[in-house]
Symmetry: C2
Subunit: 214 residues, 2 copies
């Protein structure tokens, strides 16, 4: 195997967009797709799509395009969609409870195995068949790959430390805290307001345009 | 005023990162900051930061850096953080309920005014002091700026149409459906799994690295 090239994060971020598009094409029984068609459907430039793919190998058939099923399988593989990931959620507030049944997670092969909270009122209750466990009794070997953190900000770092001690290798962080972890732990922050900046900016542009036209 | 330049979405997307960083610097009573310091704190290249800012005017003081408070105020203004936005949430499932109290929204000046659902069991119940209203009775003039959609996918487009008819100018869409709307309506999709692609990719890289080192 070739030496592994470092793939830029923006390329990885675009893979789910390609995946969804290929999934649609596959359902439409389309066998071959051009990079221009991918571009029309995703809004990502054809040249960008070709560059992103080039990190993972040669897929195009000269003068024809890309074989949909092959590319779909390869993107699934790169995105680890062909694997299952054992997950624990810490923090059973509204957001934690919402995530237990979030269908987006199952599409990604995430299997929720454990739910934790520190509230005695919540511990022992069941959500989607899983009992809420006491986070202070988090075992040293939890046998999960990923921790999802939805606790209040002041206890976010402590919660992360507990999860890492219990063997978690990746953390999906829904709190506003920048968690610190050793480099062998992958941490990604989900900010539900990321899209708001763009939305509010466009709202104000629309308003200005409307004013001009009067 | 100059003719408005079209600002690229990636620049708008980075504004919240700069905003958070400037907010921290302001709290530390730091008066002047260099683009290199911004870069160290945000992980965004100094040249990128300077380019992003250049869309909004001249901020730097030659040989010194950027005045923190002035820049903070300007970024707040561009991001409309100095304004309030009236919001309605449609879909009072777990996610909708989580969002009612999501503190990230209040930081952005979002004020939740209305909650809607179509479930007779939910209509009339109160969450955070707001009564859940019947979505089929959505009035023509709701006097809200933004609709947040957390309904099940099959009714997402109908819900969006209702919201638009009632005067909403922007939609924050938490469903997996690509909503269609006329160009005067700003629509942004929030996918809670966007960060998962990167997390799973890094997890697999870590595993490979660990295997190599044995």
């Amino acid at each position: 195997m070739n030496k592994k090239t470092k793939i830029p994060d923006p390329t990885i971020e675009r893979l789910p967009i390609y995946f969804r598009c290929l999934s649609e094409l596959k359902n439409l029984d389309i066998a071959i797709v051009s990079s221009e068609e991918i571009s029309n459907r995703t809004g990502i430039k054809a040249s960008q799509f070709r560059k992103d793919l080039s990190y993972f190998g040669e897929f195009g058939i000269q003068g024809l395009g890309y074989p949909v099923i092959h590319l779909f399988d390869r993107v699934s593989e790169i995105m680890q969609l062909n694997k299952q990931h054992q997950v624990a959620i810490c923090g059973m507030g509204n957001l934690g409870r919402a995530l237990v049944n979030y269908e987006g997670f199952s599409r990604w092969g995430l299997i929720i195995r454990h739910l934790f909270d520190n509230d005695p009122e919540k511990i022992g209750n069941k959500i989607a068949g899983l009992e809420i466990e006491d986070i202070s009794r988090l075992p040293r070997d939890l046998e999960v790959d990923m921790g999802i953190i939805t606790v209040p900000a002041p206890v976010a770092q402590d919660t992360a430390n507990l999860m890492i001690r219990s063997g978690v290798k990746a953390i999906l962080n829904f709190t506003a805290v920048n968690l610190s972890a050793t480099p062998d732990i992958a941490v990604r922050n989900v900010d539900l307001t990321n899209e708001l900046a763009i939305l509010l900016y466009h709202m104000s542009s629309h308003k200005k345009k409307n004013k001009k036209s009067h």
